[in-house]
Symmetry: D2
Subunit: 388 residues, 4 copies
């Protein structure tokens, strides 16, 4: 076979160049463009970078919101701690808005946060001859959990298999493996571990693994499975905002806030067929992820969740957020880049759980500020002043 290739149209392959500079210069020359800033912004050592056909780096402005005052449910004491929150964004008003939320939280005595480590998931799909074999395979998986765990944990000392769940549709058996990946977000290591288990399964009971990911993970796609069963970390945060703070800092009233929340986050999201019953989780999650070196595509999971609010008997305003699927880590992946390391040092979280707690508080701050703005009709004014 001779593969036809029109060499006049398709230029030299970028991966044939040896250095970033050569690639960049090839593009500059060939396309008659200049890539000065991309070269200048390239501040990391290349050996630490995982990105092929590299030509340099691209930047995002980095602002800092806070301080955010939170206490963790996990800690025995009631000690509150303050955090600065680095946010990488090009959306004017976002950092200011989160900061305003932090101020309201701080003046009300701080927020409470809590994180549950559900575990990173990988969901391969296996193929059988029909429901009889599928059901037998399901039994086998449950009986041989410890063997599978042993196989999985051989692949990395940083990984524990926590549990598995199965779903059967005819010849298809979907298995959802949940892993503890310590400080790492861990998708790569769980893929390798799942691949190892899949080969073990194929060898031992002759059930074929169709795909190491059968979208039962389900990774980087909006999905009720992640909402209902959780993925990565479940994160909660709440605060009781004093009515004076609502008035002076947020320029609205608890009642107006509540009514906008109800019309927008509840009924509006229902009318839209949404998995996001919130005001703008994704804005804070994306900016926090970009600042701290997380996988940006996991913003998808992070956009799901529920904000609740309530006017208390004494007139204060209760607000909470719940994010069922936060994929986050403090080591590995993009966190090794210098600017990300520095951003992480601003936060100072010692574990990925603590990092998720800070994210939870930041999302709560963002929800508070945006819903308050909408309640007072100042949203478009804020955007006019800061956004353009």
């Amino acid at each position: 076979m001779i593969l036809y290739f029109d060499s006049t149209n398709i230029s030299m392959n970028l991966k044939d160049f040896k250095t970033t500079k050569e690639r960049r210069e090839f593009l500059e020359k060939n396309l008659k463009i200049e890539l000065v800033a991309i070269a200048k912004a390239h501040v990391d050592e290349e050996k630490t970078i995982r990105c092929e056909n590299l030509i340099g780096s691209t930047v995002l402005p980095l602002g800092v919101a806070g301080p955010l005052r939170i206490s963790s449910f996990a800690k025995a004491s009631e000690d509150k701690k303050n955090y600065y929150i680095p946010l990488a964004t090009t959306e004017g008003a976002l950092v200011a808005s989160v900061s305003r939320g932090c101020k309201a939280i701080g003046l009300s005595g701080g927020a409470t946060v809590s994180v549950e480590n559900v575990g990173v998931t990988r969901g391969p799909v296996f193929e059988t001859s029909g429901i009889k074999e599928s059901l037998k395979f399901e039994n086998w998986l449950n009986k041989n959990f410890n063997l599978l765990k042993f196989e999985a944990e051989k692949t990395s000392s940083h990984l524990k298999l926590k549990k598995l769940g199965t779903r059967i549709a005819g010849t298809y058996v979907y298995v959802r493996f949940y892993f503890d990946t310590q400080g790492a977000m861990g998708m790569n290591m769980v893929t390798i571990a799942t691949d190892e288990m899949s080969r073990f399964i194929e060898k031992n009971i002759k059930v074929k693994c169709l795909s190491v990911s059968g979208n039962f993970c389900i990774d980087k796609k909006p999905a009720w499975l992640n909402f209902i069963s959780g993925r990565g970390k479940k994160v909660w945060a709440d605060v009781i905002l004093k009515k004076e703070v609502v008035k002076e800092v947020l320029k609205t009233t608890p009642k107006n806030f509540f009514e906008v929340w109800l019309a927008k986050c509840m009924i509006g999201s229902a009318m839209s067929g949404s998995l996001g019953f919130n005001a703008h989780f994704a804005n804070i999650v994306a900016a926090f992820f970009a600042a701290t070196g997380q996988d940006l595509a996991h913003t998808v999971e992070g956009s799901m969740g529920i904000t609740t609010s309530k006017v208390l008997k004494n007139g204060d305003l209760y607000v909470s957020v719940y994010l069922p699927a936060v994929m986050i880590g403090t080591v590995g992946g993009g966190t090794t880049l210098k600017t990300k390391q520095e951003a992480l040092s601003i936060i100072g979280a010692k574990t990925s759980l603590e990092l998720a707690e800070v994210l939870g508080g930041a999302v709560l701050a963002g929800e508070i500020s945006l819903l308050a703005s909408l309640a007072e009709g100042t949203l478009s004014k804020a955007h006019q002043r800061l956004g353009r």
Copy 2:
């Protein structure tokens, strides 16, 4: 009222500093950290940056995939064009994978792309006294569309109101305004225009606007409304991959590819309750958005959509992607940053429609390569080699 504020715990407000440098130095001193890379990577002029409490910039490695060979449905001629695709990512294997997909596409004669400009949407919520008034208001909106259009278009010469849709639940009337925002993604300008129309409505028929966004937009949240009705731009791309190319470049067979696609993107996504019937749209969308200055939180909308595949009678492999809600622009927002401008110059798209076409082709390439990897069980091996 005296707002209690514990000055020993909550440090000086970052917005009180006048310069980026002062803010950065304050944090360095206070937290005993170094922010060297964040300072160094700060390559843009600050007056062009929309980010409060700025302390510098954060970077992402920039790789280039391609060339991607596509022809646009919109163009009368069948002329194909090649594009290089800048992708900002920290996920090893992603750029290589998209490049492999581009190679398979190119060797098969190129892909077809098409974009429909649905329009950027803003969905305010209004409050009435009940369904009678709600239904009357709905009638009023439809009858007075031209008046509303006039009000909206007063706010910017770059914006056209295309149409509106309404949904009623008791006292709540949700209105979805669709705008043509030319080259810009345009969320800010449509918010301002919607605010203007809302005030006009309040003045003229005494129906109260509860919130300029009632989550009927629905912005940055996964939602069936966006999937079904579209948002921003609908994007399609497809290709017929020659069976020889599938074998030599993708190392699998059309039949294996099809079976993995069916088990994963169709049945797997159904079992997960997903709005993403695809392999990994979000990876390519996030990397493309980060490279070209789009709003990263719009990765959420971009993760929705369907990949289809089919083994043709002659043994070739047909693959298509459909993204119902792509929020993208070539001007405004993050596109004004230097590194983003340079990335856009690599692509060379003249309009936001053309930019969306290239994204469509890149997503198609990414789907092809990942599904092929899964089909041959090489996914985890690729990650082992490139990802760690």
Copy 3:
């Protein structure tokens, strides 16, 4: 080929018998059972029955709720009318509960109802060679709407083609035809009309109809398409319940009612990933459909929708329901059975729109009563007394 058939195991084919009696007697003898009640309850003339292998009839108890006092938004006058509501059910407390809701509505001056005739839908799927041909086909459909309409309306004088919508995924083109079917629910006639159009399409532009129903109708399955775009009839109903009525008839307070509604119909349904943001639409819809000869499988569409509630400034309680997809008729299908005709005569609705209005009011009454019961914790007590 000789089809193997084990005659000792698979008994004589029921369709070989000529009469209902013979079939019944065959089963009685063969299975050693008695089918006395099934014979006795068989009150219709068989020529009017559409059910193969008939052996008799099965019964459901029929209760009557009401009177329900409603006024229609469609009518110019404010005249209110009272309706009795026949409900076929075996769930104790249901009729009593709807009656209580009707009483609360009546004592508060009646409810308002409104119906929009979206149209019955059929959604065939066509197959093309790829997105180019798909997009051309979409254009052709829009340009030739009148021709299609002519073909469709040839098949029945009771049917009008109102509009069509299309969605494309690669080689698949889904078309949603909306029909006005006058008094009939009309699924059969729209299937025939769609089949006629599909053949016309195949003949004229060589695009193959893969299936006259491509689940883009989407019939008898829960789906956001029906929720968002409507199907059959959209139905609204609302009422302002006087606070005294809430207290004396419903034994709760507006505030308690609101809090249960919020926790259950809003947040609870969000946490469950539901398309039903209501308390129990399906109960009333199923009982009303069973009483009036509707297709029971359309209970699925009828279970979708939103209940809203609000405590008004004067302390009264506002409640509304919205059902986006009610499939209902007054002629054809099961409505021709004698007991259904009699039930329809109890209601006295002159059109399917009026019938849908009464259903809307009945559903509102059912929501009011159940939510009130839950608010006062009396649900299980009511079930204990009436249900067993």
Copy 4:
């Protein structure tokens, strides 16, 4: 307070009459109608009927499909058994269609069925002061499971509490109790048991039960929670249809069948945002439920699920169905009516598990026949002949 009541408009209350006959006669006289058939069809003793304001009974034609040949996964032996399937319907062609599916199954050697008893669920919602108390309450629930179980099982000897699951959103704690209710569908008894547990909880740890049902059950509403976690019984059925049978009985080919299934049940349902990835589960479920005395509103849960199909290497056709949430019983509720008892005697199932198995097989038969009809374009012709 004097409650205004317009006695000229709202007629005498139906519950004031003592007998069914009096109520019927009142309506006949008042509305000038005749309720002859409703009286005649009233074949049950009233003391066994749970329906208030009774005026008689309404009927549905009863047809019988089959025999259906199935073997149960649960049984050690491979013995196959034949069942007749009573179906109550007014939709012409439905019984004939299921019968045709049964014939194809029988000629191919029978189908395999399997049922998992997930348990009937009730999902109350509790209210706390915030996430701290919510998380503590969650811990308490898990620690005190045995105490709760004891309280629940006091209320009925026919009920076992199997497990519980919780979800937290701020002040709201949703608890999903799973019960084994033996042969009964059991919603009433689980409501009473849940009410008992809720009072125990309120007494013991001062957490308030807002509503005994918080839509986390979630009952009679389409919801991903039921799809993903199951409710009542999970039911699977599959069969390998011989290619000769597909040709001679179903008048199509395995390949055509597969292509229609893919276009309709997979891609079509995805495009519609559906929870029903099947052809028409709801038709068979509704007709089976109406025949056997199940709660018709549970058709909603029964409409969810997935049909899969595959062309095997030898050219045969594999088809399977999966229903994740079947609410069904052999005792209690509507099953006590005479005509339902007789229909159950036709099936002869000894347990609710066996009854669910037969339903699974019937749904499989219905899917096979309809998809085959669509594949050959005969759907509208069948409806023309039988449906009108």
